[in-house]
């Protein structure tokens, strides 16, 4: 969990240009971290590379918070 969160955090910080302290589990990707739809798709590509998995568009649409990402990745691990 901690490891997954760290890796997710690193990608979010890099892709969205936000401060690591803003990337809490409760943070909403769009509302709190300022991502637009293009950023989300770009971030999904990075997550797919980082965790060697494919995230379907359907699954991607369900992602709202940082917790959602971590939970999804852990469920696939």
């Amino acid at each position: 969990m901690a490891d997954t969160l760290d890796r997710v955090k690193r990608i979010i910080v890099d892709r969205l240009g936000v401060d690591a302290s803003e990337v809490t589990l409760e943070a909403s990707i769009k509302d709190d971290l300022g991502a637009d739809s293009l950023d989300v798709m770009d971030m999904i590509l990075e997550l797919e590379d980082e965790f060697s998995m494919e995230i379907s568009d359907e699954e991607a649409e369900k992602i709202n918070t940082v917790q959602d990402i971590v939970t999804y990745i852990e469920s696939r691990a």
Binding site: D14, R15, G17, L38, M41, D42, L45
Partner: protein, 415 residues
């Protein structure tokens, strides 16, 4: 009566400087910005030299997220636009955003992004292509991102006319102000195509110099031993304003943009029309639009690419337009120092021409060593010269037969 248009701000990123004082100083001391290509491994190419912009840090102008969403040409357009607005002393919070427009073009667009994403497509498949690929690559995005960055909500467009892009952008923007659709226009061009595909393509049509052993001597417009252009990158942005608007806010006026002319060769996809007849018509239209007599023009910032045909035909075109006066006025090609910035060339050269009028100093054509009997004008060889300059032209001629000329005048008061 149409409005007078003046230039009140300049912003530049170029192989000879990333700010106006450095750029101008290097122009008048005749410094070359050409060196070996460092942005990619050019060892397999016939041409391995270029005019690279050194030490450009986009993070000085925008945050990391924005940098990631912009091709280098867009980053440079945004940076030069912010510098130009600052130079003009324009505070967007005091302007009506609907009266501030953007007209910034690129000759080619985000070719580097295109190449990187195409590799992903081939190696990893279509799902791996970035969602930012299209909005980073399209050539209009410099104008789009500049307007987003500064909040300019007025007329917004871009020219794409190869090496004439920058001059078309500035000329078209001036017309928007003249007809009353904006008070301020951010105008110019940006290009960043020092990439494998651009080099492969231009090498294939034998347009570029192969003087790889002497990079600083490779761009030698009008010289008998010229052997092609040297590609450069950068951005040149000017702030155009209606004279009324500039006076009302007490702006310093650098020069007046008095006229604009354009034409098409309707001849060949890359070669200029014989005797430069298309270029001559663009110059004539710019003079007429400015209400200038040929004898009032003291300087021409030539397209002067250092290719055999361009320099010969542009010289003939100048003689067609100016007759005997062609031998009295001065012509120089600042591409001898900057290299050829393609779509940004007209922007950077408008800046050089405006500064020529303000400072009353002619920038030289460097590397002029061997006179060519077919190029027999005063090209301000190798050393800058202080002379009175009343009016000046800047020419840009692009693949496709696009010809554009702007006519600038020394600003001599609102009379």
């Amino acid at each position: 009566m149409s409005k007078r248009v003046v230039i009140t701000g300049l912003g530049v990123l170029s192989p000879i400087g990333n700010d106006i004082p450095t750029f101008w100083n290097n122009l008048i001391i005749g410094k070359s910005g050409i060196g070996p290509v460092t942005q990619f491994d050019a060892s397999a190419y016939p041409t391995r030299i270029a005019g690279e912009v050194k030490d450009f840090d986009p993070l000085k102008y925008m945050d990391r997220k924005e940098v990631r969403r912009m091709d280098r040409f867009v980053q440079m357009a945004v940076a030069a636009s912010l510098d130009a607005l600052k130079h003009a002393g324009i505070d967007m919070s005091k302007e009506d955003p609907d009266r501030v427009g953007t007209y910034v073009g690129s000759g080619i667009g985000g070719l580097k992004t295109w190449e990187e994403e195409h590799i992903k497509l081939l190696e990893k498949g279509p799902r791996r292509v970035s969602p930012f690929f299209i909005p980073m690559m399209i050539a209009n995005m410099a104008a789009g991102q500049v307007s987003i960055t500064v909040g300019a909500k007025g007329p917004n467009s871009s020219a794409v006319s190869a090496c004439a892009t920058g001059t078309h952008s500035i000329g078209d923007a001036a017309k928007i102000i003249q007809r009353g659709d904006a008070d301020v226009m951010i105008a110019g061009g940006a290009e960043a195509t020092l990439s494998p595909m651009a080099f492969a393509g231009f090498c294939a049509n034998k347009a570029m110099s192969t003087r790889n052993d002497e990079p600083e001597k490779a761009s030698r417009p009008f010289d008998m031993e010229r052997d092609g252009f040297v590609m450069g990158e950068g951005a040149g942005i000017v702030i155009l304003e209606s004279l009324d608007h500039a006076l009302a806010r007490g702006a310093e006026i650098i020069a007046e943009l008095a006229g604009y002319g354009m034409s098409g060769d309707a001849y060949h996809l890359t070669a200029p029309a014989p005797e430069g007849e298309g270029a001559a018509r663009a110059m004539k239209r710019a003079l007429k639009d400015a209400g200038l007599e040929p004898e009032e023009v003291d300087y021409i910032n030539a397209h002067g690419t250092s290719t055999d045909l361009n320099d010969k035909f542009e010289t003939m075109a100048i003689k067609t337009v100016f007759g005997d006066h062609a031998y009295k006025l001065a012509v120089s090609s600042t591409k001898s120092m900057t290299g050829h910035l393609l779509g940004a060339a007209g922007g950077v050269e408008a800046i050089a021409t405006a500064l020529t009028l303000k400072e009353q100093i002619l920038p030289p054509t460097i590397n002029y060593e061997h006179p060519d009997p077919e190029c027999d004008l005063d090209y301000v060889p190798n050393e800058s010269r202080r002379v009175p300059v009343r009016a000046a032209l800047s020419n840009s001629l692009g693949f496709g037969g696009h010809n554009a000329t702007i006519a600038l005048k020394k600003y001599d008061g609102a009379e």
